[in-house]
Symmetry: C2
């Protein structure tokens, strides 16, 4: 056992003897998890059909082994030994932050009985399968029994995890995805956001101008699209020596660790903006992963802090950068090299406009920046009611459709395009949806801070210089791993707590001129 | 615990209660191993450079977990409980054969002390790295200290495993790769083989005719080659619903299990026969894996019996089929569809001849059918001496070069093209090489049996009908898993023990007319 001296502390405080042994155990458990990352990626991109059945069993046994290693009583003892060293814990170092985070992980993992974990895994695996069938058939009744089971199991899970003082059961679930997140804190941010978004949307739809959609309907060869998006994500800073970009039905970013990141995109024959947007989005996730400190792989200091912060990185590159005029100034002249004469006659204005079409629709994953968050709010409000018991699962479609009418002015035609569209609840994931909007709000607030810190940031984009932004994000956000909770990180990086002001100002500043309203 | 009735036995004998519990444990250990298969494949085909360091740690921890699960005392108890049921063990069923094989696995795994396993893993990992450097520099002295360590560790390993009565230490090592294989049994087969091969080679080199090599020097686009070899391996019966074909520096066949087989090939810009040969070779391995019974995945009944039998399948498709005139009758007219006018002017005779060029060379992996086995014999004889202690590692180059002169008439110019060319010994694998030649001999003997059993077999190849051969191999060889030891399987399938006669007759019958000697 070696005993290292803290680098990050001003005084020379030694790490407790238990620390290195604990890290070895934690890294071993992570090694198992890091293989699951490759197997899951392989399943979506490479695996032949025949592999399906055993793949789920491979993933299940790895998850079980990882859980056993993470909840081993020795892990609890070692954490307690570190905690007992007050001088060590008080010095606010990377190492003491690791102990705080490992305590949270250990408590959460050991609070859940094995029986509940297995039941949730089994029920959600079956529910997901039946959900896919139910969605296809637009048959809510087929999914209802599973939804009832999953809501009941998640209510039990919340009770096991413990409801924070003054909080509600939903909070315990959300904390898994976004540490410190509560329904009250979400509501505080979402309420002003909703009223201004509803107003903005009304104005845009009544605007006297509308960008042309022609570029989004242009057929372009998939292999040229693939070369184009690879060039873009490489230009913005994704490192292909430490990652890959492949195709899958649903784009995602996974992999093993910061030096082996696997992201995917999707291609539409008639809309290169589809591949471009999803590639830049996933590259944002990928660059966060690649920016985590290599020396801390497998420990909290080498892991992403939350889904919301993760989403802030993907949204920032997809939207603040990828739908901005400076980006298109750089990108537009490059299109001909990939697509030849097909792009003749598209002006910079038309390309920029096509990246910013606003059009209310039923489907969250196809939504634009102005309407996306309303989709999330509907889901947040409903899952909060489901978990508190105030809404019975059987009443889901009615509540869903009522809100779509109110927030987006749309009459949902069927449950396939309504409450059956997303996979999350069938996977047993309640408390997940708000992280999409929290990430969107963080992205605008971070981007404002970056512009203040780096003069001429956007002028650089127009010349293809994305390095300063990536380096700023690396230094301010990625490098910290899990050292600061999301809210603290936000205050540290931007000087103020999360607010929807930055996002709304950004959105209105961009969209009102385009729609002349 | 369920108690099933044996299907394969004539009398109705119940499996012991311990059997199903044992199978669950064995299948779980295999699940871990089956994920290693995907990770190893990924490492060679997909992984970005950055993944290297952690990948070896991922594989190491999975190997450790698999070893722990396979050697758990409970596994030993359950095997013993099954063995104690004499009626069950005496009935010669799939289930009793599973117990016999699991006993062999368990004894072997538990005989080796953890310390020796770790030391072998660590030394061979480092040795492999230094071997690669030493090979590049053609510097045997750089590799010598590792070779000495590896020979010593393998001598210790042989002593732990136990030397069979009347046998020698090499036997204990070879048994890991080829159950029942001994130096004496190999010598008995290799001695007559060598004398006839030396004679044949002399005659061929002095022959009055020589096939044209022109087709092997023809530049053809790699992507067209890839489409062509995919068509061929699909035509001979590799199932792409349950497997993949990708590219890697060294072709191999791996994957998880019979329903997810990953094989690779390599492409040379100027020789499509390189890709064709290695693809058909790996497809032979792949079809063996795909032919193992799906219901027995993770148990001996669902696993390949030996490397020699595995190699018989790859050699059979690569050589007996892929270098035969009937295959080329089918294949030749298809070339234009893939390569256009480039193949104008190549007659069937020229194509068939180009697939059968004989030319003694220094490198085993580039060798033709007539010289390949001589490369293997040199290695077998030398490793036998190293492991017995009769040859000191420092004297390896001299012994190597002396034999190349004697068997192949070649003066080895340097150790890079001599005793440093193969990775096996640096990986700690002694007793492995002979399985290449055993497989080659089995392939000819199996093919003769197939021709006797299926009238018109080769006429079918000329029409693209490879189904009867694949189905015969499925039924006679693949479907049995590890039920019969290699020698027993050979007698069962061909009616006689392994002999080099079949191979020599095949080879002389094909090559003497081509070389007019």
């Amino acid at each position: 056992m070696t005993s290292a001296t803290l680098q990050s502390s001003t005084t020379s405080i030694k790490t407790p003897k238990a620390y290195e042994e604990l890290m070895d155990r934690v890294r071993d458990a992570h090694l198992i998890g890091s293989t699951e990352g490759i197997l899951s990626w392989d399943q979506e991109t490479m695996m032949p059909e025949g592999g399906v059945e055993l793949r789920s069993r491979q993933l299940a046994i790895l998850a079980r082994l990882q859980h056993q290693m993470s909840t081993h009583p020795k892990v609890g003892e070692l954490i307690a030994q570190c905690e007992a060293d007050r001088a060590f814990m008080d010095c606010d170092s990377v190492e003491s932050a690791n102990i705080v985070e490992l305590r949270r992980d250990f408590n959460r993992a050991t609070k859940l009985p094995e029986r509940l974990i297995s039941e949730l895994a089994e029920v959600s695996s079956k529910a997901q399968h039946d959900w896919a069938t139910a969605r296809k058939a637009s048959n809510f009744q087929m999914f209802l029994p599973w939804l009832e089971k999953l809501v009941a199991l998640n209510r039990e899970k919340a009770a096991c995890l413990g409801i924070p003082a003054g909080g509600e059961p939903w909070d315990a679930l959300a904390d898994t995805y976004e540490p410190g997140c509560t329904a009250a804190s979400v509501t505080k941010v979402f309420t002003p956001l909703r009223s201004r978004l509803v107003k903005l949307l009304g104005d845009l739809m009544g605007g006297t101008r509308r960008p042309s959609n022609r570029f989004n309907e242009l057929a372009l060869p998939i292999d040229a699209q693939a070369k184009f998006v690879r060039m873009v994500v490489e230009s913005i800073g994704f490192d292909f020596q430490r990652g890959r970009l492949d195709a899958s039905t649903h784009p995602f970013c996974g992999g093993s660790h910061c030096d082996d990141v696997r992201m995917t995109t999707r291609y539409s024959e008639t809309c290169v903006n589809d591949a471009l947007g999803s590639s830049m989005h996933e590259a944002g996730h990928g660059m966060y992963e690649q920016g985590l400190p290599n020396r801390a792989i497998g420990t909290p200091a080498g892991s992403a802090i939350s889904l919301g912060i993760h989403e802030s990185q993907s949204r920032l590159w997809e939207n603040q950068v990828g739908r901005g005029l400076p980006f298109w100034k750089w990108c537009a002249p490059k299109l001909e090299g990939f697509f030849g004469r097909s792009i003749d006659g598209f002006s910079l204005d038309e390309l920029y406009g096509a990246a910013n079409i606003v059009e209310p629709g039923f489907i969250r994953v196809d939504a634009d920046e102005a309407t996306y968050n309303m989709h999330v709010m509907v889901r947040f409000e409903i899952e909060r009611l489901l978990i508190s018991g105030a809404l019975a699962p059987k009443d889901l479609p009615g509540e869903w459709n009522r809100r779509y009418k109110e927030y987006l002015g749309l009459t949902v035609p069927d449950d396939r395009r309504g409450c059956l569209q997303d996979v999350h609840w069938s996977m047993g994931a309640f408390g997940y949806f708000p992280t999409y909007t929290l990430g969107t709000l963080y992205s605008a607030q971070f981007f404002d801070a970056a512009k203040r810190a780096v003069p001429g940031l956007e002028d650089g984009f127009a010349k293809g210089d994305f390095v300063p932004l990536r380096e700023w994000l690396n230094k301010e956000i990625h490098a910290h791993g899990r050292r600061y909770l999301p809210e603290d990180l936000c205050k540290r990086v931007t000087g103020s707590p999360l607010s929807s002001e930055h996002y709304l100002n950004y959105l209105e500043g961009k969209l009102r001129p385009l729609y002349n309203c």
